[in-house]
């Protein structure tokens, strides 16, 4: 695929460990007044011409946000966040009237995407990937719309969905992640700017991988996407999310909410490669990534599978979860989290078994280098009615150097005698014999580390769609540059 190949080329051309996407685009912007207030919430809603119910929903969420304390369970050192320091809405002016086709798009923006490895035009022609690109807060363009339309698949920005498909949005938004869940979820619900909406109708297998690339551009823009994916009975969809952000000194706040709903026999596969700016080697700058991702397997025999490769962000706080409500439903979580320099990550999953014969699988690989701290945190809970349920968890951590930390915090709760939970975890250092072997065969230490770490992560990477897997492998190696030697 063109996009991927370009990205790989760029990755290959990287001679040093500097962040490759560290450029920014000069554009005129429409910004909300700085800070967070009811006015800002109203401003965002008004900018988007939202119906009254949506505004009410946001305002209620804002009230909840003001009441909830910041979640504090993670093993993270999060500097006090001053919510008044951020802009909650910014939109390139030329997008105020949305483009009807790619030709109408500001060439500056297209150029930016090209640097990111996502030339929309080529993409449309060459690749099977439909891209709904989010540039700052507004969805720029959606390709492949027609083909998807013919199948009855709705793939658009959430803003558009609020206008065009209010009944679906109303029914499902906040049904998986309640507004009251925790303060980041409430904040997102109040000020979310854009994101993707997917609806796969009954019996339809989505023929292409749907994909969104996010990009944070404007200075001090908190980015709050809201994604909602609904797979109706007997349907299937695979969704890819890739993220890059330009280099900035100030920390940027990001709090996305992603909700998935799988009805009877439906399957959703959600893959993420996250390489947002992690900050420099001194820990300056970088994205704060506070994401809430949750899927509900509502229907019987439904399946939700999360795959994530988390290499970026200064702080990652993220627990893609599955609520296994339907009988025979399945949840999966495959994760690679790499932290280097002064990055911190606290990530994992929750598998809540409610229906009978439900099963879940968790494979987590954490790699910590430099002065980074990397924590796996996960919950497996089997309800007393969830007979014959199963979980298997494998959690491995790798330490590179002795200034970093690797931590494992699983919660394992069972109230059912017919169910089985198995959990295994290991922590070790990178195998020196393997390193030696590779270097004896002529690899330099960084390539050798990249190779070995990729082997360590293989079980997870192989769950990524092909076009992502290669990019992810490169990323794994790149994010560990400078960690040995």
């Amino acid at each position: 695929m063109a996009a991927t190949e370009q990205t790989i080329k760029q990755v290959n051309s990287l001679g040093n460990s500097e962040y490759k996407y560290g450029f920014s685009t000069d554009l005129d912007e429409i910004k909300a007044p700085k800070g967070l207030s009811e006015e800002v919430v109203r401003f965002i809603s008004a900018q988007k011409n939202e119906p009254e119910w949506m505004l009410e929903w946001r305002l209620n969420a804002f009230k909840v946000f003001n009441k909830l304390p910041k979640p504090n369970w993670a093993k993270l050192n999060i500097p006090e966040i001053n919510y008044q320091e951020y802009y909650y809405y910014s939109s390139p002016k030329s997008l105020k009237d949305k483009p009807k086709s790619l030709d109408e798009i500001d060439p500056e923006i297209l150029k930016t995407y090209e640097k990111l490895g996502i030339p929309l035009k080529e993409q449309e022609i060459l690749s099977g990937v439909a891209v709904d690109a989010v540039f700052d807060s507004v969805s720029v363009a959606t390709t492949y719309k027609k083909q998807l339309n013919d199948l009855g698949i709705i793939f658009c920005s959430i803003s558009e969905a609020i206008q065009e498909h209010p009944e679906l949005v109303k029914k499902y938004i906040g049904s998986v992640i309640p507004v009251t869940d925790h303060s980041f979820a409430a904040l997102n619900s109040a000020v979310f700017t854009d994101g993707s909406f997917v609806y796969i109708p009954e019996g339809v297998r989505c023929p292409v991988e749907l994909s969104t690339y996010f990009r944070i551009n404007a200075i001090n823009t908190g980015q709050f996407e809201r994604t909602l994916i609904i797979a109706d009975k007997n349907s299937y969809v695979s969704y890819l999310e890739g993220c890059t952000a330009p280099m900035r000194d100030e920390n940027q706040l990001h709090a996305a909410n992603v909700e998935l709903v799988a009805l009877d026999n439906a399957e959703i596969k959600y893959s993420t490669v996250q390489n947002w700016y992690p900050g420099d080697s001194e820990g300056k700058g970088g994205i704060y990534n506070f994401v809430t991702k949750r899927g509900a397997c509502r229907g019987h025999s439904s399946k939700i599978s999360w795959t994530q490769v988390e290499t970026g962000s200064a702080i990652t706080w993220k627990y893609p979860s599955c609520i296994l409500q339907g009988d025979n439903s399945k949840g999966e979580f495959y994760s690679v989290a790499i932290t280097n320099n002064k990055q911190q990550a606290d990530t994992g999953t929750k598998m809540i078994h409610i229906g009978k014969n439900t099963s879940s699988k968790i494979i987590s690989k954490g790699i910590s280098a430099g002065k980074a701290q990397n924590t796996y945190r996960g919950l497996v809970s089997i309800n007393s009615r969830a007979s014959n349920s199963r979980n298997f968890t494998q959690c491995d951590s790798l330490l590179i150097g002795n200034e970093c930390g690797a931590h494992t915090v699983p919660y394992i709760e069972s109230s059912n005698a017919d169910s089985t939970i198995e959990h295994e975890a290991t922590t070790s250092k990178i195998n020196e014999d393997q390193l030696f072997y590779c270097m004896q065969r002529g690899l330099n230490s960084e390539d050798a580390v990249g190779l070995i770490v990729n082997g360590f992560c293989k079980e997870v990477l192989q769950h990524l769609p092909m076009e992502f897997a290669v990019e992810a492998q490169k990323l794994v190696a790149i994010s560990l540059e400078g960690s040995v030697g």
Partner: protein
Amino acid sequence: MSTAVKLDMMPSKDISDYAEKVLLNNPFENFKIENYKYAQLHKSITSNVSLDEFKADLSSISSVKNIKLSDTSDIDLLSDLNKWNFNNADSYFRVNSILERSSKKIDLDLFREEIVCLDLSLFKENIHLLKASDSPKTLMINNSNLSEDCARSIILNLSENAKLNIIHYNISNSKSFLYFEINQQNNSNIKFLSFQSNNIHTRNEFFASLEENCSLDLYGLNIHNYGVNDNYSFIQHMKPSSQSREVFKSIVKSGAITNFQGKIYVDSIAQKTDGYQMSRSLILDNESKANNKPELEIYADDVKCSHGSTVSKLNQDQVYYFKSRGIDEEQAIKILQKAFLVETLEAIENTQIKEYSYSLLDSRL
């Protein structure tokens, strides 16, 4: 002061004030400390089943030295709370039981007998045990004779090269909250088994700090028909080349709850640490519950640490194998339950005590 106070924000000098105040109220109302996640301390647990009157009877073990009050001396300072890489405020019992009571010192090397028994019903104080020699000794700690609720700290200091085998019998219908602290100097080693059955409500905290080249084997054997049984362990490796091995096995039925929360902490200088932690539970019916939270917190890279945790029912293929050899289901289940637990009994070195423990287990199945 509200009891929902955020202890983790509190500087340690305030903790004693806090502990005092909290004692006056119901300490665990809204108690949200992570390390007590499953302990249900806010609930006053009363068992609505008929409690069994069983007590561990240690009288069959011969030539035992029973520790009396006259064998002890007074001691002031018990524990250096600051040496722990653990937020003091996160353990109510370790702070509280240390601050609350006077303490008695017992030097285990003063007794000639190989087996020494400490009956907690005889002491109202906290206990500070010392052992310096490498001569074999088994310490039995019995809280089976308690008739009332009990909160105690038991602190154990092992000097260089010292060795000790400990078995803790916790079979009582009272509520007991025990804080065990183990301080191991270089080359010392400990094998510790806590044998627990049918407590109304029990919380055991095991804190161990290991210096160089030590070994610690910590085992838990749990078999419960009622009550809440909560075990917490925190093992810190502070120097290189030590080994810790934890195995907690639990069987619950008829509404009993068993919990294991444990952490292995490896300091950045504690290279070559070998840490292993295994918690396994068998749940025999849907009224019962098992919660496990095995944690690793690791700051050194040249280490080998792992944990595993399983929750399941009895392996039905094994039951089938027994039956195919003519053994009926009831007996097969008994044997398999025993087989599941016996690994922990191997921690006992003294054959007399080992035999007694096996028979004790048989009587509990």
